[in-house]
Symmetry: C2
Subunit: 418 residues, 2 copies
């Protein structure tokens, strides 16, 4: 194993039991301390960030969007600090006893919430994730190993130095939060194989990063992100409200995972609904790709949707529209093409609402609301570590609880097994 | 992908939504139907099993223990049938709404328990696992793909044929439970890579099987089994009761994962406790490997424990004993050498009991009881699918709930995101 990865894994393993037994007050003080230190050292952070920005400007594949994700200006530093203060304000999930019962032999058996242990995070060139992810993991009592992208290494190094100073100032080990500074791919791959040290690995980024982690990791992984979401307008829907919801689900922020990518419309309501919704969507700058029937109801010429469109997460102002025969057909389409993220039905039928809620297989299933609500803040969980689209451990927005596990505690009085 | 694996994965994916929406009554009827069919077809099963038994008798590495695990006689068939009837008697976890709350914008957000989907199980030459695992997975509403060992393929084929007949007799797809009959290693490896079809893969068997699955699988895995468990006798323990618990934890069934492998003893109680416990353990046929101080308190000569002993899961009538200075030292030893399975303190000190419960990092932590209680039946969960020693999704005994996941259901009234 890469010596840096090994050293930081060992430090994290030593730190985890100290963090696991640290009270919420101490963890909150550290988060506040880091928040203040970020603001105090904003020039140092900006200058480190500037090194990264200068380097990427010289690259052939330089893009403005990439530069913007990498940029840390005064506003963004303040917003990272505020994020930490918000995390400090959340309830500590550690120590909750979720259930407790008594067995016939007198054993009292309970389940109590404890930190996961050592959490690894592999992410792309967004230095705010460094603060955000470290803050959540520490609040839940974990040690953290961060592996950011090479393009952000100067920024991340400056941020982690500030975090570590705050940790030691509060008598916590610096190894609680560490950064793998080796930017070679092999260092990331060693981290994926470090199952003797890491309890969980979370990839945060695009589909190719997530796939690389799933394919190579022997550490348990939580898969986040991909969202080919649908909104289905049932024949009983109220047209005005359905159009508002569908438009919101597409255009309010098209580049995120909970935006709707395909609109399904019941054939009976299609003429009236599409006559209203299509011009409104076009007005918002949406490119529409329709099935044959959708195109026949459109006042203007629309692009033709292909099989690929049903399976695509555009993350853009593009919407596929398909007319379906009934709710069952909509559910089948969603369960076939969807990625198990967020799915909505717009209906006034009790029966269809219930069928949709029960039969659609996704992290979040909605009746009469925009798919855009799937996130930690909107669900009332506070900050989140991404949206899980897998079924193990946690599904949907990953709040602090997702960074904990349960252990059984058993109070006996001399019981032996017969 | 191996065509058989692909075909059975596709069938399971089609079956899963039917199972997910099948009521408990139907699932229970199927389980009862299979139980009756097993008893009715006991001769057919025994004769298929006999083929497997004859084949392994001709092998060079034939062992009586292996033969015994593979054997299906009338008693064992009856016991498999009873197991299914017990599973039918358990509450269906599917459909429970675990929490529900209302957001300021009027959205009602709930979490409801749903099946995982398609569960793969890779296991060794124990044909009873075929019935047991399939029964649990189906009760929790899942489709199942079984991959048993080549030595049991005739037995497994006969059992799965019976299961499939019962499924179709109850109008459920035969593909709900299927067996990968190709006994080549490559078929198992294809199953481990079938993340487009499988939601979960559970290896049931020895350490090498589990490691192979973890190293190769891109499907989320639950790690089960390894148990290097400890019992720590504190200085405040009542000697008589402590000895009873320690002996029970070692000898009641030494070959299982929740048996204690190392006994830790506080130095102040060591002379009195060991004088009582060592002869009693030797009487039970236990081989003791002691640290220097343990050996000095033994009335008879003991083998010397080496570093390896602290790290070994004997699964046998062998016990390592170490004298420690205090509870903190015992906790450190356990957190260093343990596998996170089951750990016990025997004490009358409130402070030490609480410290042990809080600081020991394991699936089940006990005060004043035998580690042997860590199992689904003893915890009141009913039948179990193994003991998880990882931290993701489920920790400790895996009952029906471990074969389910949660989905968010959101009841709106036209909400759009601002």
């Amino acid at each position: 194993m890469n010596p840096e990865v090994l050293e930081k894994c060992s430090q994290a393993r030593r730190a985890k039991s100290i963090l696991a037994n640290s009270p919420a007050t101490l963890k909150n003080e550290v988060l506040e301390h880091i928040a203040n230190a970020l603001e105090k050292n904003k020039d140092e952070i900006a200058s480190a960030n500037n090194k990264d920005l200068e380097l990427i400007k010289q690259k052939d594949d330089y893009s403005k969007a990439f530069y913007d994700r990498l940029l840390l200006n005064e506003d963004r530093i303040a917003s990272m600090a505020d994020g930490l203060r918000e995390i400090a304000g959340l309830d500590d999930p550690v120590g909750e006893v979720t259930r407790m019962w008594k067995r016939p032999n007198g054993l009292h058996i309970g389940m109590t919430r404890v930190p996961i242990g050592v959490v690894g995070i592999i992410y792309e060139a967004r230095p705010n994730v460094t603060i955000d992810a470290a803050g959540l993991a520490v609040k839940a009592g974990n040690a953290v190993i961060l592996r950011g992208s090479s393009e952000a290494v100067n920024s991340n190094r400056a941020l982690v130095r500030i975090i570590q100073k705050s940790l030691t100032a509060n008598n916590l080990p610096a190894g609680t939060v560490s950064l793998i500074e080796d930017t070679e791919r092999s260092a990331a791959q060693d981290l994926m194989k470090a199952d003797q040290y890491l309890d969980l690995l979370i990839p945060r980024g695009g589909a190719s990063l997530i796939k690389a982690v799933i394919d190579n990791s022997t550490v348990p992984v939580i898969q986040t992100g991909e969202g080919n979401c649908h909104t289905y307008v049932d024949n009983s829907a109220e047209v005005e409200s359905a159009a508002k919801i569908a438009i919101n689900a597409k255009v309010q922020r098209p580049g995120v995972c909970n935006a709707t990518e395909t609109l399904l419309v019941h054939k009976e309501i299609a003429p009236e609904f599409l006559a209203k919704a299509i011009p409104a969507l076009l007005d918002e700058g949406v490119e529409i790709r329709g099935c044959e029937e959708t195109r026949s109801h459109s006042p203007t010429e629309l692009n033709k949707a292909t099989e690929d469109d049903w399976a695509t997460e555009y993350l853009d102002l593009i919407l596929a529209i398909k007319v379906v025969g009934n709710t069952a057909e909509a559910i089948d389409h969603i369960n076939h093409y969807g990625t198990g993220h967020s799915e909505a039905i717009i209906t006034d039928s009790y029966e269809n609402a219930q069928a949709f809620l029960e039969q659609v297989d996704a992290a979040a299933v909605y009746v009469n609301a925009s798919t855009r609500f799937t996130d930690g803040f909107e669900f009332g969980l506070g900050a989140e570590m991404g949206i899980s689209t897998q079924k193990l451990h946690v599904r949907g927005p990953m709040g602090l609880e997702a960074l904990t596990t349960l252990k059984y505690i058993v109070y006996g009085s001399g019981q032996i097994k017969r």
